[in-house]
Symmetry: C2
């Protein structure tokens, strides 16, 4: 049996340019999220997009991976702030997710910047979503507070 | 300039086992989503997870890719229902996103099951999130209504 299977559904009506969709997740935590091609590629206007959802997946997963890696070094983070910036760009004429850039800001008692950087690198190696995103360039930048 | 850059942030406090996080996206569409390791790997209890967010990214992107591919064949979908099921499993002792299974149900006037299947295959090839998820096994199953 796998660790977890999580599902989400999109209902889309109409053409790409003038149609629209709604995204829901099986847990109900996401509510009902409207999506359109225009909101995805121009001004979002308060709408989410596949790239924002991918960024949310990546940042949440990376924060857990880093928390795990810190624990393996007997460290407990007071606070980790993890941003993911996912970029959609045209490659050979085809829209492509080219990168996900992770920026970490950590408040972690009992470590120093160099050790923290090493542990962030370990987290980058184990994060399941980083490995899922094998089609993109993943970068990680980390800062330790105080 | 890229087509779009979308960001999301997770703030995590504490250890992996007993800590917790909150996920927000820059558009505000997602609200503030609580996440924990227990909710990710045991019963979700109304909480989202990286895998559900990845499923939401995949299903929404696939629906747009399919709408585009249909348009290239002069077809406009009345309704596409696209589910993604993302599986987290242990591989060599490491939690890994092993697969994302797409299930499509289409209401598309003017086509037949065989043509629809061919267009779904085209969509699978162009969907940016399918290509992003190069680390996982992507499967696509499609049914045409009526």
């Amino acid at each position: 049996m796998p660790i977890a299977v999580r599902t989400a559904q999109t209902v889309w009506e109409g053409s790409l340019a003038s149609g629209s969709g709604t995204v829901t997740g099986a847990t109900d935590a996401l509510g009902t999220l409207p999506v359109t091609w225009a909101a995805r590629t121009e001004q979002p206007g308060g709408k989410t997009s596949p790239e924002e959802l991918a960024a949310a997946a990546h940042s949440s997963c990376f924060s857990m991976a880093l928390s795990l890696a810190l624990g393996e070094h007997k460290l407990t983070p007071t606070k980790l702030t993890v941003e993911a910036a996912v970029t959609l760009d045209e490659v050979d004429g085809v829209p492509t997710v080219v990168s996900s850039a992770i920026t970490v800001n950590g408040e972690v008692p009992g470590t120093d910047a160099a050790s923290f950087q090493g542990i962030v690198d370990e987290a980058a190696g184990i994060c399941p979503i980083s490995r899922l995103f094998a089609g993109a360039n993943i970068t990680v930048s980390a800062t330790l507070q105080g």
